[in-house]
């Protein structure tokens, strides 16, 4: 091989208990190129990047920079080797100014001990020089928190450049940018490329990738599919190479029979213009409706709005033919709805409380007697019954829930909502972070619930799960519903095509959108 590479990851493998996350992956980046890294959710892109930044230690394989083997044990090591990352979620220090954010931890100093001070003048000059090189127009002394998301991103890029990075990894950098801002990002990327910097560009947006990239590497199921020059590829070719994995996981036999309509959603729009807009669908009794889409499709936002956790600007929801207003989770509960949130630890469990308390907390009214005192014995009995029914593995119902595995915590949360006797269950990534055995058990519970006539909406980022479980699959992209597929007719390719469908980049000045986005 005559070609030289600035970065080579050779034969990387990484296993986690129960999952082979990466097997024998090779990734080579040429100097001064934009290299797109593509794959479905869970294809192993993030794991590969975490290996690059020393967050995970690969079981096998080596990393070479400019032909030299290197050992990277932390992001700091990576930075010292000239590799930096622009994360999807940016975390600047909002109350400090722009230049302090860039030079954090390495301020230019003047004077001598004990009279050493930060040299603000030099810091401002250094910042301006970098800004000029990349044609960025931001006041180095502006308060960072007041900037738009796009400017904060530019700032992160400048920070990477200030470390003399040779490889900059960008994770979904355009997911919260408007059309103009994307153009600006691309012009910065072009300048970096002309200065010999390589960019690893992780994105799902086909058109953008075909426009900006030189090379494209595709991954699937933790394996390396191949690397092509962008010129050789089309959207369809990429999709075919990204999907088409074998359905190795098994799903319970489907015994549910969807019948009449239970819930109707008409033209539902978020108050946040970047979130879901004009979503309409119907949900039937005994039906499992899957919702598919890529990161940023606003699926979580949609179900949380259905449950009264997020504000709705317009549109109607009716249940059993009657229009309903749901403004809080307790409204949702009154309408026999239940929500299993995506972030189990953040919005689901009460870590220091027992399995019993976690089970009954949404349903205490049921255990009150005439004097408004709780009948704990009945609550504990119910918790025990559910532990047995869902086969939750816990030493006892008095164990703190934080001592349980993710799958068992999820079963306790399911039990919590089942006790409220819901008719409509909203399940947001119900099997995320759960090992394979427990997954199957959760699938069985979901199927049973549908068989009993309950209506289920299940968000999933795993294609096989969507296809294996859903009666119908609704696909979203950038807050828009792009299609509803019948479960039997759906294929991974079709879902992917709908999920990657882009809104035509609107050129309008949507500068203020970030403000409302952050509040959302």
């Amino acid at each position: 091989m005559a070609e030289s590479y600035v970065l080579e990851m050779r034969n990387i493998s990484k296993a986690f208990p129960g999952v082979q996350a990466l097997s024998d992956v090779t990734f080579k980046v040429r100097p001064g190129t934009v290299h797109a890294l593509m794959g479905e959710n869970g294809a192993g892109k993030s794991t590969l990047m975490k290996c690059l930044f020393g967050i995970y230690k690969p079981d096998e394989g080596d990393i070479y920079l400019n032909g030299d083997k290197v050992a990277i044990n932390s992001s700091k090591d990576a930075l010292n080797h000239g590799i930096s990352m622009i994360h999807q979620e940016l975390h600047p220090v909002p109350h400090r100014n722009v230049m302090e954010n860039i030079w954090l931890g390495r301020f230019p100093m003047m004077g001598f001990w004990p009279l050493k001070f930060v040299n603000e003048k030099q810091m401002a000059a250094d910042t301006l020089r970098l800004f000029r090189e990349l044609d960025i127009d931001i006041d180095p002394r502006a308060r960072t928190g007041a900037l738009s998301v796009s400017k904060i991103q530019s700032l992160e890029i400048v920070k990477a450049v200030s470390y003399h990075s040779k490889v900059i990894v960008m994770d979904e950098p355009t997911s919260s940018l408007t059309g103009n801002e994307v153009e600006h990002l691309f012009s910065i990327m072009n300048r970096l490329r002309s200065q010999g910097v390589s960019i690893v560009y992780i994105s799902h947006k086909m058109e953008e990738i075909l426009r900006i990239s030189d090379d494209v590497t595709i991954m699937r199921d933790g394996k390396y599919v191949g690397t092509w020059q962008a010129g050789e590829l089309t959207t369809d070719l990429i999709i075919t190479r990204m999907v088409g994995r074998d359905l190795t996981e098994r799903y319970p036999e489907r015994t549910n029979i969807p019948s009449e309509t239970r819930m109707q959603v008409r033209q539902l729009s978020s108050t946040n213009p970047n979130s879901f807009q004009n979503v309409s669908f119907e949900l039937r009794k005994g039906e499992i409706l899957g919702i598919g889409g890529l990161v940023g499709a606003q699926r979580t936002e949609l179900v949380e709005a259905l449950f009264g956790l997020r504000p709705v600007a317009s549109g109607t929801i009716s249940i059993n033919g009657k229009p309903v207003k749901i403004k809080s989770p307790s409204d949702a509960k009154k309408n026999n709805m239940a929500l299993l949130t995506e972030e189990r630890r953040v919005t689901g469990i009460f870590p220091v409380l027992s399995v019993y308390e976690n089970t009954v907390i949404a349903n205490l009214r049921r255990y009150q007697n005439w004097a408004f005192l709780l009948n704990e014995r009945r609550g504990i009995e119910d918790a025990r019954t559910n532990v047995e029914k869902l086969r939750t593995k816990t030493p006892s119902v008095n164990t703190q829930i934080r001592n349980l595995s993710g799958g068992n915590q999820q079963k306790v949360l399911l039990a919590r909502w089942l006790l409220t006797e819901p008719e409509i269950l909203l399940l947001d990534e119900p099997t995320r972070g759960i090992d394979v055995g427990a997954k199957f058990e959760i699938y069985s519970i979901i199927t049973q619930l549908a068989t009993q006539g309950k209506s289920i909406i299940m968000i999933s980022s795993e294609m096989p799960e969507l296809l294996g479980m859903s009666d119908r699959i609704m696909v979203m992209s950038e807050g828009r519903m792009t299609g509803i597929l019948e479960g039997q007719e759906a294929s991974e390719e079709e879902i992917m095509r709908l999920a990657a469908q882009q809104r035509s980049a609107d050129p309008g000045g949507e500068v203020d959108e970030y403000a409302s986005h952050r509040q959302g």
């Binding site: 409380l353 009954v360 907390i361 949404a362 205490l364 005192l373 709780l374």
Partner: protein, 339 residues
């Protein structure tokens, strides 16, 4: 004994370290001066701990929700002054309300408790509806309530004179006792404190409000998603703790037979100290009534016992400080070991 049994004993003791410390303290003091082990000692410690227990229980409500209440001491002062101002004997020369008739003793007591409850409602509103962090919200009311109390206390004709000459049918609540004969007796105030503790135990363990309190402190976002009305529950909890400070304030006035606007100053810190030593987590979600009782008793034993054996008050402060820090450091280690 096999190793498993040793681990079990260790675990058991670790869970109940607070009671072990309490027993060790008593033993240590008793070795230094065996006279400590008299019934009168126990009675005196319980009597001194009674109002502290009620305040600490109020503080525990707030701590378990993940908050903190700095206004407790000043609410005690306010309610002591308010109730005392209406409970002076008619023959007393310097009456706060010279023309006030001899109303039932219960009425001023109730007014005092309600004053505390109102401050609690205000705290709850500021925290739950205005989303001001509890530390700041109650810092504000702590300062403001002292001002309100001082204005009241300074009114004509009282003009900041200590309120004295309280009616005996009131002071008996604080200083009276049931005499069993043979030197054995039980102060009313101790009975009241134990009764209040029992009510709190019922609220903590047997009511929706109690379970919601633990849930809000354990994970406020999850509580919201579970359909708990977080704001309403928080306001109710702050109101209850305000009422508890009110009870404590009224009892302080009864016990000491008077009141000034400086009553209760800094009691909130003693209350928080007793809570954390008793295993209440300042991070929220954890705490029990027996734990708080033990925490209060430990400080009661230290105050009384160390003075009993002649330890200087300055050394007592150092010992108390060490116990507070050690208790929390120990508690946090217990958590880390599990992680």
């Amino acid at each position: 004994m096999n190793t498993q049994a040793i681990v079990k004993v260790k675990d058991y003791l670790a869970q109940r370290a607070i009671f072990v410390v309490l027993i060790l303290l008593v033993i240590g003091i008793a070795v230094a001066d065996p006279n400590f082990l008299a019934f009168s000692t126990l009675r005196d410690i319980l009597q001194q701990s009674s109002t502290r227990l009620i305040i600490a229980l109020g503080a525990a409500f707030i701590l378990i929700t993940g908050g903190v209440d700095l206004s407790a001491g000043r609410v005690v002062g306010l309610t002591a002054v308010v109730s005392a101002s209406m409970l002076q004997t008619e023959v007393y020369a310097n009456r706060f309300f010279p023309d006030l008739p001899q109303v039932s003793v219960l009425l001023p007591i109730l007014i005092g408790i309600i004053a505390g409850l109102i401050v609690g409602l205000i705290n709850g509103f500021i925290v739950a509806k205005l989303h001001v962090p509890p530390f700041i919200a109650t810092l504000g009311t702590m300062v403001g309530i002292y001002g309100v109390n001082s204005i009241y206390f300074d009114m004509e004709p009282n003009q900041s004179q200590p309120i004295g000459g309280l009616r005996p049918d009131f002071t008996v609540w604080g200083s009276g006792y049931i005499d069993f004969g043979g030197g054995y007796s039980l102060p009313y105030i101790v009975i009241i404190a134990i009764f209040v503790a029992f009510i709190c135990w019922v609220i903590f363990n047997k009511t929706r409000l109690g379970k919601n309190m633990y849930a809000i402190g354990g994970n406020v976002q999850a509580a919201h998603v579970s359909g708990i009305n977080v704001a309403r529950n928080l306001i109710a909890i702050y109101a209850i703790s305000g009422a508890l400070y009110g009870i404590a304030g009224v009892l302080e006035a009864a016990r000491t037979g008077g009141a000034t606007n400086n009553y209760g100053n800094m009691y909130e810190l003693d209350a928080i100290a007793a809570c954390v030593v008793g295993g209440v987590s300042t991070a929220g979600g954890i705490g029990t009534v027996p734990g708080v009782m033990a925490g209060v008793l430990i400080f009661g034993v230290i105050n009384y016992g160390l003075t009993f054996i002649g330890v200087s008050p300055y050394w007592q402060l150092i010992i108390k400080g060490l116990i507070i820090v050690a208790a929390v450091a120990f508690d946090i280690r217990k958590y880390m070991a599990k992680k």
